[in-house]
């Protein structure tokens, strides 16, 4: 148990460090993520370029830092959106019951059985051809947030349904609270730990999904860096073998996702 707690603290420390580096990217490096050192494509790491440069001569360290900022700001934003949708719909389903509950649960079951990547790329095609990189990043994570709620909804609904018959809700009902007051004043505040857990669980999922979409050229557009489009160069295996430092974005991504898996306490630790 002690080892698990220590591991959790280490993971939390790593995540805070990575997040801080991403946030302070502008102060840590004075290069622009899009600036091309035309005379230095595929340069090896040096004191000027800590992780070398990519085939277009852009400083890889700078791009990893800015990519970290984008992925670690937008993935939690998408997770927040998905959690809010799940909280409202799950809360309503748990509180109201009846046909509304059946309808919401059926929609969640249906959405969960959809092949998410197919739906994501079908919606992504709607972006205009001349969409800016910032718009592409926003649209990618917004779509993830809008489509990512069903898994959380089931958990929220189950807990809200148990609360429906609890003493304090019955008391609130007898005092004449309306359904909206019960939902936002009583049910949702009681479910805060559930929301927090669902929020944390969703972040690594969205990071991985964005990475896959961007590697396929359907996520965040160049020259804006994200962890996904930084992995784009991996397709050229001979270049990767000759420039092994270019594996850095993948290491940061994998480390972050692993840390997210370990920072939440297991049920027996909570007991």
């Amino acid at each position: 148990m002690k080892a698990r707690r220590a591991l959790r603290v280490v993971c939390l420390g790593i995540l805070i460090a990575i997040f801080t580096l991403g946030l302070l990217a502008g102060s840590i490096t004075h290069y622009s993520y899009a600036f091309q050192f035309r005379e230095l494509p595929n340069a090896a790491p040096s004191s000027l370029h800590l992780l070398g440069t990519d085939p277009l001569g852009r400083d890889l360290f700078t791009r990893v830092l800015y990519g970290t900022r984008i992925s670690l700001l937008l993935a939690p934003a998408a997770a927040l959106l998905a959690t809010i949708i799940a909280a409202i719909l799950g809360g309503i389903a748990g509180l109201r019951g009846g046909w509304l509950e059946k309808l919401i649960l059926a929609s969640a079951d249906l959405s969960m059985s959809l092949p998410l990547l197919f739906v994501l790329i079908a919606l992504r095609v709607w972006l205009p051809l001349d969409a800016s990189p910032v718009l592409s990043a926003g649209a990618t994570f917004l779509t993830l947030g809008i489509l990512g709620w069903p898994a959380s909804l089931r958990v929220v609904w189950a807990t809200a349904r148990n609360l429906r018959e609890s003493d304090h809700i019955l008391l609130a009902r007898s005092l004449g609270y309306r359904n909206s007051q019960l939902l936002f004043g009583q049910i949702i505040p009681c479910l805060r730990p559930v929301f927090l857990a669902q929020f944390w669980v969703s972040i690594p999922l969205f990071i991985l999904m964005e990475a896959t979409l961007s590697m396929l050229g359907l996520g965040v557009l160049e020259p804006l860096p994200s962890w996904g489009n930084l992995l784009h160069g991996f397709e050229d295996f001979s270049a990767m073998a000759a420039n092994p430092w270019r594996v850095a974005p993948l290491l940061v991504l994998v480390l972050t996702v692993i840390c997210f898996q370990f920072i939440f306490p297991e049920s027996e630790e909570l007991a």
Binding site: L110, L114, I121, A122, R124, A211, T212, L216
Partner: protein, 286 residues
């Protein structure tokens, strides 16, 4: 039995309703997509005015929305999914060519992942060894942190078949879920009582643990099918395999909405169909 059949019938009706709803949604997406009905042949001065009118009428531009829905649904019923814009071939023909490869790959991938995940999770519960438990958790934890597209590149470098890539993407998720289910069932009081009576570990596993975890496992089968189809896109796209996943990727890059929406509709119906089937299997069991 009659109750089960009526439930299955109800589910099939729901599936048909979903198919119609999905088709209408696809039609709406295509009708209001940027650039709908624009045909570059209209700019070609060699075409006469009558030919241009004919091209316009092919796209039903002047028709109302409901009339467009009618034409689209009538086409679907006849097996006409439209024509791919960038490949200039009937979508139905493209799907017939590519679907067998993807179905085979997804099936083998699912089978491999299920066998490996079940074996691994049963072994960890059977032997209760911390070394085995931690090793399995560490390996699957590493695999779950890899984006599906990176797994696809790994398969490409190692010249591994696509189905193995699908298995690698699904395996860690299946293992985690199955391990939790089996561990929960193994910690029940009746298992403790059986152990106190000297029942062998293997017998406990096969007679007491697996039957308890059976229902959620069947539900997982449906969800894993949807995961496998999702994993097929990056794997087929990166390894240049001639499947539906690669076709969907090419359609997305070339903004070929008729092709993309038809593929999404068909794959959705397939995965929802598998979920309905597994749901009915679960409800039909005592």
């Amino acid at each position: 039995m009659a109750h089960w059949i009526s439930k299955l019938g109800w589910k099939v009706i729901q599936l048909v309703a979903l198919a119609i709803l999905g088709a209408l949604l696809c039609a709406t997406m295509m009708r209001f997509a940027p650039g709908y009905g624009v045909d570059e042949r209209e700019l070609d001065s060699r075409y006469s005015q009558a030919s241009r009118e004919s091209i316009r009428s092919e796209h039903h531009i002047s028709d109302g929305l409901f009339s467009y829905y009618g034409v689209y649904l009538k086409g679907l019923v006849r097996g006409n999914f439209g024509t791919s814009i960038f490949l200039q071939r009937p979508v139905g023909e493209l799907l017939r060519e590519r679907a067998p490869f993807t179905l085979r790959t997804v099936l083998f991938g699912l089978l491999t992942a299920w066998i490996l995940a079940t074996a691994l999770s049963l072994l960890t519960v059977r032997f209760q060894s911390w070394a085995l438990d931690y090793s399995a958790t560490a390996v699957t934890g590493m695999l779950i942190a890899l984006p599906a597209a990176v797994v696809a590149l790994g398969c490409l470098y190692l010249r591994a078949p696509v189905f193995l890539g699908i298995a690698v993407v699904i395996l860690p998720k299946l293992f985690r879920y199955q391990h939790n289910l089996f561990a929960h069932a193994h910690s029940q009081p009746f298992v403790l009582a059986a152990r106190a009576r000297g029942v062998s570990r293997n017998r406990i596993l096969f007679r007491h643990v697996i039957p308890v975890a059976w229902h959620p496992l069947v539900a997982l089968l449906g969800v894993s099918a949807s995961m496998a189809f999702g994993a097929a896109i990056p794997l087929e796209a990166i390894s240049d395999s001639p499947g539906v996943g690669q076709l969907a990727w090419q359609a997305a890059l070339n903004r070929d909405l008729p092709l993309l929406t038809s593929i999404t509709l068909l794959v959705t119906l397939l995965t929802v169909g598998v979920n309905v089937l597994t749901g009915s299997m679960r409800e039909g069991q005592p």
